[in-house]
């Protein structure tokens, strides 16, 4: 084992020329080199497909069987690449520990919290019970509230905390945190990140933080490694990155961040890099001809409750919610998971029957003229049919009268073009399209119905940032064409770019409503203020300091 760099023992972990190949020999990760010193935080930043998660899995020796790692990953003096499982087991736990993204599948649903923790702790009986309680309160949860519960009785934030408690139980020297808060609500995200930060300082532990969010990376870490398409784009000190980064790719990533404090003229990354798109514009810039105050959609006193399954109380998803959408305007609905925002969308679309209250469309507008773009691009299109089939179906249903093939094809081509896709996409099948492309097809399908109102339910939440801005620009262009929109999002920055007015939903109730600019610049309700404070700023202060709350809410998520 040659330690050629002449400073053995200085690095806790050093990765050199790491390469991960699939069974067909294609490199998924190529020539990745970086190192972590004791106590240091290194962030691995990249979009989906950048290879950041595979790099972490390779370090933990947890690559799927059909992938092979080569190069060198040295843990102090031990080589991890090609090591036997027996050697790896001595590293995992006391040396390296891992915190994964999805809090919902992280814990075994059949195992109560105490047993999950007991697996990694020494001792027995009263001594063990004490240790378990100590670990639970370390992660900011009252031990009695979690110890005997099963994972499915806990909210996402609490599960992720328990996952953290399990990961830290043997005081590892390095924590691999793979998108630890991506699946959590914004307010919970900040709490959990602050907790990780505090515990990390307390234990003197090093961390490799994998994230797609540059702002989280810069506020949490000492050094940042930016990855794209399996390779390293640049790596360096966090201050370098904060000032924009040296590489074109990093600058694009920065440019893709949407600001929450102003509305941009053009959302596309290219336009923003030019500077022209980055210019702020007045907030009420949407709405083409005919935009005004005539309401096109009125929701009155809308309530929806879901009956409980088995024993337990039912859920009041919406509680006397009212709103008005004016023609040609865009109304944002902001809320976290469990706020009832999706239920509201489904009631407006007629996919769900409200328990009480009404949804009224202006006379003359057919149900079919209220269309929707769903959150999940992967199940929005039928995998059995081509894009052209899906779009032609929309055209034919709108037209009523039979159209010739040529007319249908021409209309499809024109609409695909308007969402920024080539006409040849009509011949392709959904599985050959990326998430962003699928979402554009879904928008095209909705537009082909010539809708009066488009309901967008978190249309970009599942997409990478650079792709998000392209899709959002498509939606903005549609707004400019006079389309009225109900835009549902948890992301305040997205709401700022796409909406004229917002309502803020919290546990099924409207807590604040008003013009987007005034609500986001000067929130009146405490909950809105907390949502705004949870938008990552990229500064260290965002993460330092005490947690906002002692425990995550029990019912959320």
């Amino acid at each position: 084992m040659a330690s050629g760099n002449g400073r053995p023992g200085a690095d806790l972990l050093s990765v050199e020329g790491l390469r991960v190949t699939g069974h067909d020999g294609a490199a998924l990760v190529d020539d990745v080199t970086f190192s972590i010193r004791p106590g240091e935080t290194v962030a691995l930043v990249g979009e989906s497909g950048s290879g950041k998660s595979l790099t972490a899995k390779a370090i933990a020796g947890l690559l799927p069987r059909n992938l092979t790692a080569s190069g060198s990953i040295r843990w102090r003096e031990t080589e991890v690449v090609g090591a036997r499982e027996r050697v790896l087991r001595t590293l995992r736990g006391p040396q390296v520990s891992m915190l994964l993204q999805d809090p919902f599948t992280l814990l075994n649903p059949l195992t109560p919290v105490w047993r999950t923790l007991a697996e990694t702790l020494p001792g027995r009986g009263a001594e063990l019970r004490l240790l378990i309680s100590e670990r639970i309160s370390d992660v900011g949860i009252e031990p009695a509230r979690a110890r005997d519960r099963y994972p499915w009785e806990l909210s996402g934030g609490m599960r992720q905390r328990i996952g953290l408690a399990a990961a830290l139980s043997q005081s590892p020297a390095l924590l691999l945190a793979d998108e630890p808060t991506t699946a959590l609500d914004a307010t919970t995200q900040r709490d959990v990140l602050r907790l990780i930060h505090r515990l990390q300082r307390g234990h003197g532990m090093a961390m490799l933080l994998i994230t797609h969010d540059l702002r989280i990376a810069t506020s949490m870490s000492d050094r940042v490694v930016v990855m794209a398409k399996g390779g390293i784009v640049e790596s360096g000190d966090v201050d370098d990155l904060r000032s924009g980064g040296r590489q074109e790719y990093t600058r694009r990533l920065w440019a893709a961040q949407l600001p929450v404090d102003r509305r941009l003229a053009d959302l596309r990354v290219e336009a923003r890099l030019d500077g022209a798109g980055a210019a702020p514009v007045p907030d009420a810039a949407t709405g083409g001809a005919g935009a005004g105050t005539t309401p096109i959609l009125v929701v009155r006193e809308l309530s929806k409750s879901f009956a409980a399954r088995g024993h337990g109380e039912g859920v009041q998803a919406l509680d006397r919610v009212g709103l008005e959408l004016a023609r040609g305007r865009s109304l944002g609905v902001i809320g976290e998971s469990g706020s009832g925002k999706t239920t509201l969308a489904r009631c407006i679309l007629g996919l769900e029957q409200p328990t009480s209250g009404t949804v009224e469309l202006t006379p003359g507008i057919a149900r079919r003229q209220v269309q929707c773009v769903f959150q999940d691009p992967y199940s929005s299109l039928n995998p059995s049919h081509s894009i052209g089939f899906a779009l032609a179906e929309a055209v034919r249903h709108r037209a009523g009268a039979p159209l010739s093939r040529r007319e249908v094809a021409a209309e499809i081509a024109a609409t695909l073009h308007s969402v920024g896709l080539d006409a040849s996409f009509a011949r392709r099948r959904p599985e050959t399209l990326s998430g962003g492309q699928r979402q554009r097809v879904a928008i095209a399908r909705a537009l082909l119905l010539r809708p009066e109102i488009l309901v967008c339910d978190e249309p970009v939440a599942a997409l990478d940032l650079t792709v998000q801005s392209q899709v959002l620009q498509v939606l903005r262009d549609a707004q400019a064409g006079g389309l009225s929109m109900v835009f549902i999002t948890h992301d305040m920055s997205v709401a700022r770019q796409l909406t004229d007015e917002v309502i803020v939903l919290h546990k099924g109730r409207i807590v604040e409503t008003g013009p987007t600019a005034s609500v986001l610049d000067d929130p009146q309700h405490e909950y809105t203020a907390r949502l705004l404070a949870s938008v990552p700023s990229g500064d260290r202060e965002w993460i330092a300091g005490p947690p906002l709350q002692r425990t995550g809410a029990m019912t959320d998520g």
Partner: protein, 278 residues
């Protein structure tokens, strides 16, 4: 973050699949031969040459009354395979539309369909057929017709659960918002996504029907005596096991290999068709 890598279920060894496909082709070929004839003579009795082990003239020897076993095995292919194939097709043709309707309607319709299928599933099929044969005089095609209904539930359950999984996906709701009618959603949007399940069910039903019908023939309740059905042959030639073991081994081996190939091909097709979807 998802890495875009899906670990596929372990692929079956491709050699096995190739063998299974080859055997299926062989059986299909035998069916053709038994229709065309090609100078086969499965029925002529040569009492003087009865109970012979394999000879150059009779590669698999002769049976109790001197009929050529090889010719009978070849001729038996179509007799044995066509019944189960028809049963499987019939069962799937009933199960799939029922599953689509049950999943789409839910509520009472779903309950009636599913409880009926549970009841059918609880019945021991061979016993039911024996009783019905006793009441109505029996016969191969009556048994097959009854078997169709007894085999429907297994495929119905699987198809319904897959259809239920599709029901609330956004693409279905998008179709509703476009204004697509319920039958259109069921048959144009849901049905194609059931294809892998349908293919797998078809082959599994075939195997179940093959086993059930040959068992009945073996018991003398299916194909008539003297028929070249492999189940009947197995029963009749069991008495010859010491003089000419091939006479009963050959149809038995053909039955086992046919069932095994169909199962293997069903699995393989299912994986292939599923894998094509994103």
């Amino acid at each position: 973050m998802s890495t875009g890598l899906q670990t596929r279920p372990a692929r079956q060894s491709s050699a096995l699949v190739v063998l299974a496909l080859a055997f299926a082709c062989l059986v299909a070929g035998l069916c053709v031969v038994s229709f065309v004839g090609l100078g086969l003579d499965p029925q002529t009795q040569r009492l003087l040459e009865a109970r012979q082990p394999p000879t150059p003239g009779h590669w698999l020897g002769t049976d109790l009354v001197g009929r050529d076993v090889l010719a009978r095995v070849v001729h038996g292919a179509s007799v044995t395979v066509i019944g189960p194939a028809a049963v499987a097709l019939g069962a799937v043709a009933i199960a799939v539309p029922l599953a689509l309707v049950a999943a789409e309607r839910g509520g009472v319709v779903d309950a009636v369909v599913m409880r009926t299928s549970d009841t059918l599933l609880a019945l021991p099929s061979i016993l039911v057929i024996i009783v019905i044969a006793g009441l109505f005089g029996g016969g191969y095609w009556l048994a097959a017709a009854v078997l169709v209904f007894l085999i429907v539930p297994s495929g119905l359950r699987i198809a319904r659960s897959v259809a239920l999984g599709q029901k609330n996906l956004p693409y279905q709701e998008a179709a509703r918002l476009i204004g697509a009618s319920t039958p259109r959603r069921m048959f144009v949007h849901t049905l194609p996504n059931l294809l892998p399940t349908i293919v797998a069910t078809l082959l599994l039903d075939f195997v179940a029907a093959l086993v059930a019908l040959s068992s009945l023939s073996f018991l003398g309740l299916g194909a008539p005596p003297g028929s070249t059905d492999w189940g009947t042959m197995l029963a009749e030639n069991l008495r010859l096991i010491e003089q000419n073991p091939w006479a009963c081994l050959a149809p038995a081996v053909m039955l086992v290999l046919t069932a095994y190939s169909a199962t293997t091909i069903g699995d393989w097709l299912h994986l292939r068709l599923e894998g094509r979807r994103g």
